[in-house]
C-alpha cells in the first residue's frame, strides 16, 4: 500500500531523537553538536542561515564538529558562504555539495576549493532565485537559523536583522523539515513574534550575539573628488531628467556620494521631492542627511545595519518597523520590491565589457551574486506604468506604438574608469568568461547583462545606451566614457563626437558641471562623526568606523 506521509513520519523520528537533549525545545549550547548529530542524516539538504550580514555562527561551528560517521556528505543550500567554517565543512567532509548566492569574504578560498574539487557546485544564484528554489527543488530538510531571542515555546524575535529567516523557515517547516534556531537570549516574552513557535523545533542559547557584518557603512571621509563628480553627473544626468523617485542603490562609494549630495547639490538643483523619495535599500548611514532634510519618504530594507537600530526606531515614518518599534527587514520581499517596484538600480561593479556586461568576478575570486542582479534587471513581468519607466522605454524604441511599448527599468552602472591600484573598470573580455572556461561552467558569472544596462556613468560622462541603435554605437558609447583605459583610448573619435552630438554621451560640460566644483565640501557629511551629528546622536557606528 502506498504511504503518503513518509516525510512527516521521518521528521517526527528526528524530532524525537533530538528531544532527549532538550528541555522543552531548549538545548544547551554545549549539546548543539549532539543535537545536530541526532537530527541530521547523511546527504541531507541543510540551510545554514547566513547572508552578507547576519550569521548563525554558533550553529555553523557546531555543525563543523559533528561525528563524520553520523553526519556527512551534506548538500548545503544557503544564501551566504561567508564564515571560514562554511568552507571548513567541505574540507572536513561534513558537506559535499553546494548551492549558494553570495561569498564575499570567502571568494578567493571558494574559488580554490572549486578548482581543487573539494566542493561539488550546484549553481551560484541571486538571492531571490535561491529562495525560489527552496520551494521547488532545493527544499531544506534541516534549517539552522539565527534569531535575537526566543520565549520558552519557541516564538522567535529575529530583530532588525530578520533578513532571510522567514523565507528559510517557510520552506523548511511547511515541508516536513526541522528548524533549529540559535538565539542570543531566552526571554519570558519576545518583543514581537517574527517566527511563530510551531515552526521552530529546537532552540540553542548562544553565549554571544550572532555575528553581523556592517557591510553598508561607507565612511564619507574616504569619498574622493572623482566619486563626487561622478555622483553629480548621475544626479543631474539621470535622476533629474527621468524624475527617478523609486530606486535601489548599490553599496559602493559612488552611490554613497550621491546620498550625501542630495541635501546639498540636489537641493540646489531644486530636486527635493522630485527624485529619490522611495527606496528598496538597507539602512545606509550615508542616507541619514537626506532623510533628516526631508528627502526620503519610505525605505524598505533587506536587512539592517550595525549601529542604525535606534535611528530607525526613531524614524518609523521612513522605515518598516514592528509593533515593538524595531526594524522589520525581509530580504525576499525587499528583493521583490527592488525587482518590480523600483524604476532604477544604480550600483558599481568591477569590470564592464564592450557590450556592457558587468561582473564582480576576477579569475581568482568568486564573490557570488547576492541581490544586485535582481535589482539590476528589467522585470519582464512588470505591468504598472511610471514616468521614468515609460520614458526609458520610449528612448529604447521610439518607433513602437505607445500603448504596446514596454517601459524599461533604468539600470545604471556607476564607477570611476580606474579602480583600486589603477585597475581599469573597462575591459575587452571579462575575467568571468575566463573563469567559466577554466571551470567548465555552462554560464559565465555575469552580474548584470549588457542588454539590461541602460546607462554607464563615469567621471568622463554619462553614456545612455538606450539611445544606441547598433552594437557598434553601443560599443563606442561605452568606449566614449571609458577615459584613459585601453578600452577608452581605442575609441573611434569621430563616432564618439557624433554620439555626443546626439546626447548619447554627455560630458560634464554638456550637463553644465565644472569638474573643479566637485569638492568634498559638497558632501552633506564628510565623516562618520558628521553622520552621528545629523542623526542627533541616534546613529551609533561600530568601533572600526570611529575616530573619537
Amino acid at each position: 500500500m502506498t504511504t503518503w506521509q513518509n516525510n512527516r513520519a521521518a521528521r517526527d523520528v528526528r524530532i524525537a531523537a533530538g528531544a532527549g537533549l532538550a528541555r522543552g525545545k531548549v538545548v544547551e549550547a554545549r549539546d548543539a553538536t549532539r543535537l545536530l548529530e541526532a537530527v541530521i542524516r547523511p546527504g541531507d539538504r541543510v540551510c545554514l542561515e547566513g547572508d552578507n550580514q547576519k550569521q548563525a555562527d554558533l550553529l555553523s561551528q557546531a555543525l563543523l564538529a559533528v561525528d563524520l560517521s553520523r553526519v556527512n556528505d551534506l548538500h548545503m543550500v544557503q544564501s551566504g558562504v561567508v564564515l571560514p567554517e562554511h568552507l571548513d565543512l567541505f574540507d572536513r567532509g561534513v558537506a559535499k555539495r553546494l548551492d549558494y548566492a553570495y561569498s564575499g569574504p570567502q571568494s578567493a578560498r571558494i574559488a580554490r576549493m572549486l578548482f581543487g574539487g573539494k566542493i561539488e557546485l550546484g549553481a551560484v544564484h541571486t538571492y531571490l532565485e535561491l529562495f525560489a528554489r527552496y520551494f521547488i527543488d532545493l527544499t531544506p530538510q534541516v534549517a539552522l537559523i539565527a534569531a535575537v531571542s526566543a520565549d520558552r515555546e519557541g516564538n522567535l524575535y529575529t530583530g532588525p536583522n530578520t533578513e532571510d529567516t522567514p523565507t528559510v523557515v517557510e520552506a523548511t517547516a511547511f515541508k516536513d523539515g526541522i528548524v533549529i534556531a540559535q538565539v542570543n537570549e531566552i526571554a519570558e516574552t519576545v518583543p514581537r513574534v517574527d517566527i511563530p513557535s510551531d515552526r521552530v523545533h529546537f532552540i540553542v542559547k548562544s553565549d554571544k550575539p550572532f555575528f553581523v557584518e556592517p557591510l553598508f557603512t561607507r565612511d564619507p571621509a574616504a569619498i574622493t573628488e572623482g566619486q563626487i563628480l561622478t555622483a553629480m553627473l548621475a544626479i543631474k544626468g539621470i535622476y533629474a531628467p527621468y524624475g527617478v523617485q523609486r530606486l535601489n542603490h548599490g553599496i559602493g562609494f559612488s552611490t554613497a556620494a550621491i546620498e550625501l549630495l542630495l541635501p546639498t547639490y540636489g537641493e540646489r538643483l531644486g530636486l527635493k521631492g522630485k527624485i529619490a523619495t522611495h527606496f528598496a535599500l538597507n539602512p545606509h548611514p550615508a542616507l541619514i542627511p537626506a532623510i533628516e532634510s526631508g528627502w526620503v519618504r519610505q525605505i524598505h530594507s533587506f536587512g539592517s545595519e550595525v549601529g542604525m537600530d535606534e535611528y530607525i526606531r526613531a524614524r518609523s515614518d521612513v522605515y518598516f518597523t514592528g509593533p515593538d518599534g524595531s526594524l522589520r527587514s525581509n530580504r525576499a520581499f525587499c528583493q521583490t520590491a527592488g525587482l518590480y517596484a523600483c524604476d532604477m538600480f544604480i550600483g558599481s561593479t568591477l569590470q564592464i565589457d564592450l557590450q556592457g556586461n558587468s561582473s564582480t568576478v576576477t579569475t581568482s575570486r568568486i564573490a557570488g551574486f547576492g541581490g544586485a542582479p535582481n535589482m539590476g534587471a528589467d522585470a519582464r513581468g512588470r505591468r504598472h506604468p511610471s514616468e521614468p519607466w515609460l520614458k526609458a522605454g520610449a528612448e529604447a524604441a521610439p518607433d513602437g506604438a505607445a500603448l504596446l511599448r514596454r517601459g524599461r527599468k533604468l539600470v545604471v552602472q556607476i564607477g570611476e574608469t580606474f579602480g583600486d591600484k589603477n585597475v581599469p573598470l573597462f575591459v575587452e573580455k571579462l575575467d568571468a568568461i575566463e573563469l567559466a572556461e577554466k571551470l567548465n561552467l555552462e554560464l559565465a558569472p555575469i552580474m548584470i547583462y549588457g542588454d539590461d544596462v541602460t546607462h554607464i556613468v563615469t567621471e568622463e560622462g554619462v553614456a545612455n545606451l538606450l539611445l544606441c541603435r547598433t552594437a557598434r554605437e553601443r560599443e563606442q558609447a561605452i568606449r566614449g566614457v571609458a577615459g584613459y583605459t585601453d578600452v577608452g583610448r581605442r575609441r573611434d573619435h569621430g563616432m564618439v563626437a557624433r554620439l555626443r552630438e546626439r546626447g548619447v554621451i554627455r560630458r560634464p560640460e554638456d550637463l553644465g558641471i565644472n569638474p573643479l566644483d566637485a569638492d568634498r565640501s559638497l558632501l552633506a557629511a564628510r565623516s562618520i562623526k558628521d553622520l552621528v551629528r545629523w542623526s542627533g546622536g541616534l546613529y551609533a557606528p561600530p568601533s572600526k568606523f570611529r575616530n573619537w
Binding site: 574622493t224 573628488e225 572623482g226 563628480l229 570611476e416 574608469t417 580606474f418 589603477n422 567621471e459 568622463e460 577615459g483 584613459y484 583610448r489 569638474p515 573643479l516 566637485a518
Partner: protein
C-alpha cells in the same frame, strides 16, 4: 620611479599673474603639481616623477588632452606622483591652472 617629460607648443598664454602655485599631496593614489610661470608664452612643459612604472602612454594621452583643453602657455608643471589615477591627474592639472590663473604673487 619613472621620469617622464613632455613639451608642447600651445596657442595661448595662460591667464593670471601668479608666478607659481602648488596643489595636491604625494600619497598613494595622489600627486602634487607645482606650476611655475617660467616659459615663453607659446610653450608648456611637464616634468613627471611617478611611482607607477609603465604608464607612459596613458600620461601622453592625459597630458595631450590637458594641453589641448587649457592651452597652458608659459607654464612649467613639475609633478611628483604617488601612483594617481588618470582622472585624479587631470583634476590636479586643472586645479593647478585655476590656481595660477588667480591674480597675486
Amino acid at each position: 620611479m619613472e621620469d617622464l617629460r613632455f613639451q608642447h607648443r600651445v596657442r595661448t598664454r595662460a591667464g593670471g599673474t601668479r608666478q607659481s602655485a602648488i596643489v595636491g599631496v604625494v600619497a598613494s593614489g595622489n600627486l602634487e603639481v607645482l606650476v611655475e610661470r617660467v616659459l615663453p608664452d607659446a610653450e608648456c612643459a611637464l616634468d613627471i616623477k611617478t611611482a607607477a612604472i609603465g604608464f607612459g602612454e596613458v600620461w601622453t594621452a592625459v597630458v595631450g588632452d590637458f594641453v589641448e583643453r587649457y592651452s597652458p602657455g608659459g607654464l612649467r608643471f613639475s609633478i611628483n606622483d604617488g601612483g594617481a589615477r588618470p582622472d585624479t591627474v587631470s583634476l590636479r592639472l586643472a586645479q593647478a591652472v585655476r590656481l595660477i590663473a588667480e591674480n597675486g604673487q
